[in-house]
């Protein structure tokens, strides 16, 4: 029923610019990784059994669309029911809704226009395990991310069916998963009404042309392209349109950043002078073709490849430096799969000279945002997007 094999990771996937000694120590302390398959999923890197947190190995992040069975799994709370699709209903109501209504999955599919879009789904804390100094929380490395083609209906169309009043401030979203203890706050999130009414915010039931897998939110989950995955509520059952800021633990206390640390989207109704909610993703990139420690054969042509993504502004350029960031040259970008999807890049590695080869990758968004050379440290370990450097050797 459960397949398990132990994998010994070599060096960590990437060593961080200017921080070599510390990163090597980090790699040593996370050297053993267990690959374990949840029912219906391929073997993934197990971070925790319960609540289930599993990340995608780098080897499975090579394709433009991350396969459903290899897509990462992230839960806060461990009571995760297998939802019976026939019994499942989505209830939409609230103090700022003109009416309330319930839909079955079939009614949802029949009642509204079906949309598909490609979008990156990334945990707010992806790469938390690469933070120096270390911070508590799930110690993700690079794999709490995936890109998929999501199919569903617009949240906007569903909200307009019940009628959104002019005083609406937020939309509150709850899923079927719950905590073990009644005293533990249920995982409930909210979105600014503007983002909820955005044409790209979907209630998705399809993932890569298949039904959503159980562990990724079956039968329907929210898709908030450009925003971190905490808002992509799984096993969606209830939506409320409300005239005030939602005060639940997962909004009020969790997923917060110091104010003015990141130039990300505003969420005014949830902002406080000291702390603001995490919102959209920061510009970022990941090398998938190589990891630090890889050896290249002299004079054999080989490409560095990977993905770059941002908040949906779209990737403008991906630049590569082989001189520790003194000079940068543009990599070739692969086809554009939509502004919310990740964008492939490739760069021919120069293997003419034997010796060490340090390759740094830096993505720039059409918004003008650029990956920083140094980590922007924060206590919760969010938005790790410092420039990645891969240390190779030509032999």
């Amino acid at each position: 029923m459960i397949t398990r094999r132990e994998a010994v990771a070599g060096l960590a996937g990437s060593l961080l610019l200017g921080d070599l000694a510390v990163s090597k120590r980090t790699a040593a302390s996370t050297g053993r990784q267990e690959l374990i398959a949840l029912p219906g999923k391929a073997p993934l890197i197990k971070r925790t059994f319960r609540a289930p947190n599993y990340e995608t190995p780098l080897a499975d992040l090579q394709s433009a669309f991350t396969p459903n069975d290899k897509f990462f799994v992230r839960y806060h709370l461990a009571n995760i029911p297998e939802v019976d699709v026939r019994a499942w209903r989505l209830r939409v109501s609230g103090d700022s809704a003109n009416s309330s209504h319930e839909w079955s999955l079939d009614e949802l599919k029949r009642g509204f226009e079906t949309i598909s879009l490609a979008a990156v789904n990334q945990c707010s804390g992806n790469r938390r395990g690469l933070f120096t100094p270390r911070v508590p929380g799930v110690q993700w490395q690079n794999g709490a991310i995936g890109n998929a083609n999501w199919t569903g209906v617009r949240l906007r169309d569903v909200l307009n069916k019940v009628g959104v009043r002019a005083d609406a401030v937020e939309v509150v979203l709850d899923g079927a998963d719950t905590a073990v203890l009644p005293a533990t706050p249920d995982f409930v999130k909210s979105l600014p009404i503007g983002r909820a009414l955005d044409e790209n915010t979907l209630i998705a039931f399809g993932m890569n042309e298949r039904p959503l897998p159980h562990w990724n939110g079956a039968p329907a989950r929210l898709i908030v392209p450009g925003w971190t995955a905490t808002y992509w509520v799984k096993h969606l059952t209830e939506i409320r349109v409300v005239p005030r800021a939602f005060d639940g633990f997962w909004m009020r206390s969790a997923y917060r950043l110091p104010a003015n640390m990141f130039a990300t989207a505003r969420f005014p109704s949830q902002e406080r002078p000291d702390a603001v909610p995490i919102t959209d993703m920061v510009v970022n990139s990941l090398v998938t073709s190589h990891v630090s420690g890889d050896r290249l054969v002299r004079d054999r042509p080989v490409e560095l490849r990977g993905w770059a993504w941002d908040n949906g502004a779209g990737v403008a350029t991906v630049d590569v430096s082989v001189d520790a960031g003194r000079s940068w040259r543009p990599a070739t970008l692969d086809r554009d799969m939509g502004r919310f999807a990740w964008r492939g890049f490739r760069w021919p590695l120069d293997t003419r000279k034997a010796g060490p080869l340090s390759v740094s990758v830096r993505a720039t968004s059409r918004s003008g945002a650029v990956q920083p050379a140094a980590l922007i440290h924060n206590a919760s370990g969010y938005h790790h997007n410092m420039i990645q450097t891969v240390l190779l050797e030509v032999v």
């Binding site: 925790t48 461990a78 508590p136 203890l181």
Partner: protein
Amino acid sequence: MRRVPLALGLVLHAAFVAETYAGEQDVQLAQGTGHDLVVARCVICHSVDYLEMVAPAMNRGAWEKTVRKMIDAFGAPVSDADLSQILEYLSTNYSAPTLQESP
């Protein structure tokens, strides 16, 4: 099937018997004073592999903050007497020796 009820033997929490996920029973925790208490309280809501995972980021102060969050925000049934024993166990067995205590 996937989950196996775990007999906790806790009268106080009999209404909330933890269901474990396949594999988590194999997680071995360090022996020592407080081991049984940590197992009894923590596994009500989550597997104990969290302990080893976060250890490199923890010291006594960080554990106190974390366990207090479990009690205050998440409703973990941990008494004051439990708390000091749990903190002793966690900071002895699941902390990074090199991590500086924050001022």
